[in-house]
């Protein structure tokens, strides 16, 4: 366990390095940051100077080494657009994104899991079929469309929910939460639903597929023979056996929506890191992008590590290291 974590830590460091490197290669193609940093009247010499100052003219290896060196000292640089330290920018926006992502995932699981179990149990019932078809709306309609439609109906026409932003936020130390105010809750509903709809479909379908498999297992039959309650058979025995792939996807999806809930954040003007990233792409704000990518890499590394650990928690057979794995 200890050595496992140690090994992962080392691997993670390599992952971060690789991400930084690839990101650097990428930035050559992202566009010219300087054009966005100066007015139209600025002379070419000044532009060139600025480029020089930002180190954009250095050879990639030099830029890379400088960058890594600075990061190791905890200096992530200043945003080209906002002139502020990138790490504080991201840190102040991370809570919003995390709250939204977790809400979305919770929404998706609270609905998706029972729906998945139900459709797995009764694959032929009309309700299952309805679930299966209706849920497809979540994956076949573009997020943007869903978001705008929600805004139109609940925000503009009915006027029930705010159409943008996070509502009132409460500062709890370094964490700012919108979940302590009514307006905060009102604000998170639509974006979380928009984000969660896709996850819901995904989780539901995945669980159904796995449930169909698991429900035929002998231990389920035996559990029935023992007269266990259906709920405990379906949600305890069967569901747990579907968890390994479901957890994997849930983890990846959580990572993806934290990292790339960009469209939702943009549609609802949700002040999270995705919005920041979107702006950074359109203005070629390299420091934000690189730090952001490192953050995202860290998020995925952590989520995947947690998921890997959860495998062991869920499935005792995976803990066995005696079996000589593979060839």
């Amino acid at each position: 366990m200890f050595s496992f974590l140690l090994r992962r830590l080392l691997q993670s460091a390599i992952v971060m390095l690789a991400v930084a490197l690839i990101a650097f290669l990428m930035f050559r193609y992202i566009g010219d940051p300087v054009a966005q940093m100066v007015g139209q009247e600025t002379s070419l010499t000044e532009r060139a100077e600025l480029r020089q100052q930002l180190g954009l003219n250095d050879p990639v290896p030099v830029q890379f080494v400088t960058f890594v060196g600075r990061i190791l000292q905890g200096d992530f640089g200043l945003s080209y657009q906002m002139g502020q330290p990138v790490d504080t920018l991201l840190a102040t926006r991370l809570p919003a994104t995390l709250e939204l992502s977790f809400m979305a995932l919770i929404m998706a699981s609270v609905l998706g899991v029972p729906m998945g179990v139900y459709t797995g149990l009764h694959p032929k019932s009309w309700l299952s079929r309805t679930f299966m078809i209706v849920s497809l709306a979540g994956v076949s309609l573009p997020t943007f469309f869903i978001g705008i439609m929600l805004i139109l109906v609940f925000g503009v026409e009915l006027g029930w929910l705010p159409t943008f932003g996070r509502g009132d936020v409460v500062e709890l130390g370094w964490w700012s939460t919108g979940l302590l105010s009514v307006s905060g809750w009102k604000s998170i509903l639509m974006p979380a639903f928009t984000l969660g709809l896709f996850q819901l479909t995904f989780i539901m379908r995945l669980i159904r597929s796995e449930m169909l498999e698991v429900l035929r297992a002998d231990y389920i039959r035996f559990a029935r023979a023992r007269g266990l309650h259906n709920s405990s058979i379906h949600f305890g025995h069967a569901l747990k056996n579907t968890l390994v792939p479901v957890m994997t996807i849930a983890g990846l999806q959580l990572g993806s929506i934290i990292a790339f809930g960009i469209i939702t954040e943009s549609v609802f003007q949700w002040p999270g890191i995705g919005l920041l990233f979107l702006q950074a792409i359109s203005t070629a704000d390299i420091p934000i992008m690189s730090t952001y990518l490192l953050l995202v890499a860290a998020i995925f590394v952590i989520i995947n590590l947690i998921v890997d650990l959860l495998y062991y928690a869920v499935d005792p057979r995976l803990r066995a290291d005696n079996a000589s794995g593979g060839h």
């Binding site: 035929r216 231990y219 559990a223 023992r226 007269g227 259906n230 405990s232 005792p316």
Partner: protein, 571 residues
């Protein structure tokens, strides 16, 4: 017909017909079956493998595998029909009033929950007791079924248990709710005789003291003789004969029963070959006549002919073999706990010999087999095969085909998504043992015939087979590699004596004519006596005694061996 009785029987099955509708044709598994079990009675159900015994059990429970369904007939519990009850009503009967031990104990336990959790959960579903109480009850139950160190074992997962131990857990699970009717489908196949005796005793006591009825499905006529009050004999989906145990065993009337009884392996003398069941009804293909020397199994390959085999040289040498499992993980090495499943195990298997491995359930037999097969990496000692070390990848690759294994659990060792013919064809294909596809198909068909499944079986998927049939598929697959050294972990535990005889004879022929070497793990002492040249006895992960078969049976040295022989059920 029970109108005369004041009290209806505990269970009455009337005119039962169960079918598995397929797309092309509907398979009738059970037809026109009528059975009765009274309170306190143990009804033995014997019969051909695939005759429909397990199907009857499942039908009573209302748990027929989809798409199976009851086409005709009625099942009554205490005079009330239960075959047409709703799902929730049936759930309330299950576990509480009727319990069933499925034939496949190894897959009956949820792999993700500890044994303790599964036990307490069942107890608390049916009785309102505190969690602590349930746990204490569970431990007591485990001890009752002969699991030592129960307190500690409670927190282990099914995969950490041996086959027999899992079977006992399943039995404990069934007993913990005090049901009125117990359906026990081959409950003791994986148990050594001493534990088996203990379990059977438990069941008998239950029937006697609690007035519970028992439907006991088994192939072991010895068990029937010692336990059952009455016996029903099944053949091809029908009950051909019912009667008092003594009458069935000593004066069977139906031709099938007669030949079945006649084929039971004898524990007292060693015979050349196993007697065969010669009753075949209707057109039925006669059991194929088989000549090893001209057969595909006998050609080429690495199986050496007996002439060339020097019986005295060891083929497999195990030196101080040890296998330890981690049972408690911890960051700190000091806090880790291990379990030595096999320890200081030194044993040779000679060229061309059949070495029997018997011993207490959970003593490490399967572990030895798995280490030999390369599924576990030994944690101590070494293995030599044909004089060469078997450690590492190279050794394994070199001897890959020569070492084969038949698993104790036929259920999980077959890929559920492959058709049976593909499963069996696989090793042939892999080693290029057949010149072309056509040939391969012929060989597969032939192998299926050899294990008594018939060629049509090839088109089906494993789940469409009965326990015994699946076991035969595994055997066919193992044979298809034309192995030199075959590890058989309880190869015939789920087979009726007739099929058992057919297969054991086949193995014997292979041994005799081709010098096939075998490690034969079994609890069935009569079979072991017939099959093996030498016998090793294991207990607690260690070797107790190794001796020539006859010497061991006539003059056991070790106390445990003596105990085993004493408890051997007899007709």
């Amino acid at each position: 017909m029970q109108e005369t009785d004041a009290k209806p029987p505990l269970l009455a099955i009337k005119g039962l017909k169960v079918e598995y509708p397929g797309r092309l044709k509907t398979f009738v598994a059970v037809e026109d079956v009528a059975l009765q079990i009274r309170h306190g009675e143990i009804l033995g159900l014997v019969g051909e493998s695939g005759a429909g015994k397990s199907t009857i059990g499942s039908a009573i429970m209302g748990l027929l595998d989809a798409p199976g369904r009851i086409a005709e007939g009625a099942i009554e519990l205490d005079g009330e029909r239960i075959d047409n009850l709703g799902a929730e009503a049936m759930r309330r009967i299950r576990g509480k009033r009727i319990s069933m031990i499925f034939q496949d104990p190894l897959t009956s336990l949820n792999p993700l929950y500890t044994i303790g959790r599964q036990l307490t959960e069942t107890i608390r579903t049916h009785r309102s007791v505190s969690a602590d109480q349930a746990r204490r009850d569970a431990i007591a139950l485990l001890e009752k079924v002969g699991i030592s160190d129960a307190e500690h074992r409670m927190d282990q997962y099914p995969h950490q248990f041996s086959g027999g131990m899992r079977q006992r857990v399943v039995i404990a699970l069934v007993l913990c709710t005090d049901p009125d009717l117990i359906i026990a489908d081959e409950p003791t196949t994986a148990l050594d005789v001493s534990v088996q005796a203990q379990i059977l005793d438990l069941i008998k006591r239950l029937a006697a003291e609690r007035n519970a009825g028992v439907l006991l499905v088994t192939h072991d006529m010895g068990v029937i003789a010692e336990t059952a009050t009455r016996v029903a004999v099944m053949y091809r989906g029908r009950v051909v004969e019912t009667g008092e145990t003594q009458q069935i065993i000593h004066a069977p009337t139906h031709a099938y029963t007669k030949s079945l009884i006649g084929a039971v392996p004898r524990a007292d003398v060693k015979l050349e070959r196993f007697p065969r069941v010669d009753f075949i009804e209707g057109s039925g293909k006669p059991a194929p006549q088989f000549d090893v020397r001209s057969h595909w199994l006998g050609q080429g390959g690495s199986a050496t002919s007996p002439e060339r085999t020097v019986r005295s040289t060891p083929l497999v040498e195990m030196n101080d073999l040890g296998m330890r499992f981690i049972t408690h993980r911890s960051v700190f090495p000091r806090r880790r706990r291990y379990f030595d499943a096999v320890k200081d195990f030194t044993l040779d298997v000679k060229n061309g010999e059949v070495l029997g491995l018997v011993g207490e359930s959970g003593s490490g037999k399967s572990t030895v087999a798995r280490v030999l097969a390369g599924l576990y990496r030994e944690s101590a000692g070494s293995i030599n095969f044909d004089g060469k070390a078997l450690g590492g990848q190279d050794g394994r690759r070199e001897f890959g085909r020569q070492i084969q294994m038949i698993f104790q659990d036929p259920y999980s060792s077959l890929n559920p998504r492959m058709r049976v013919d593909a499963i069996i064809a696989e090793p042939i294909e892999h080693y290029g043992l057949a010149p072309d596809r056509r040939e391969r198909e012929t060989i597969v068909a032939n192998l299926l015939d050899l294990v008594g499944l018939g060629q049509d079986a090839g088109r089906k998927f494993p789940h469409e087979f009965s326990g015994g049939q699946r076991q035969r598929i595994s055997i066919a697959r193992a044979l298809a590699t034309r192995p030199r050294f075959l590890i058989c972990d309880e190869p015939t535990s789920a087979l009726d004596v007739s099929i058992q005889a057919q297969i054991l004879n086949l193995l014997k022929d292979l041994q005799e004519w081709l010098g096939l070497t075998m490690l034969f793990i079994s609890h069935d002492l009569p079979v072991v006596r017939q099959m093996c040249d030498r016998i090793a006895v294991m207990r607690h992960g260690k070797l107790c005694e190794v001796a020539e078969t006859e010497a061991l049976f006539s003059n056991p040295q070790h106390g445990y061996t003596k105990e085993l022989l004493r408890l051997m059920p007899r007709l």
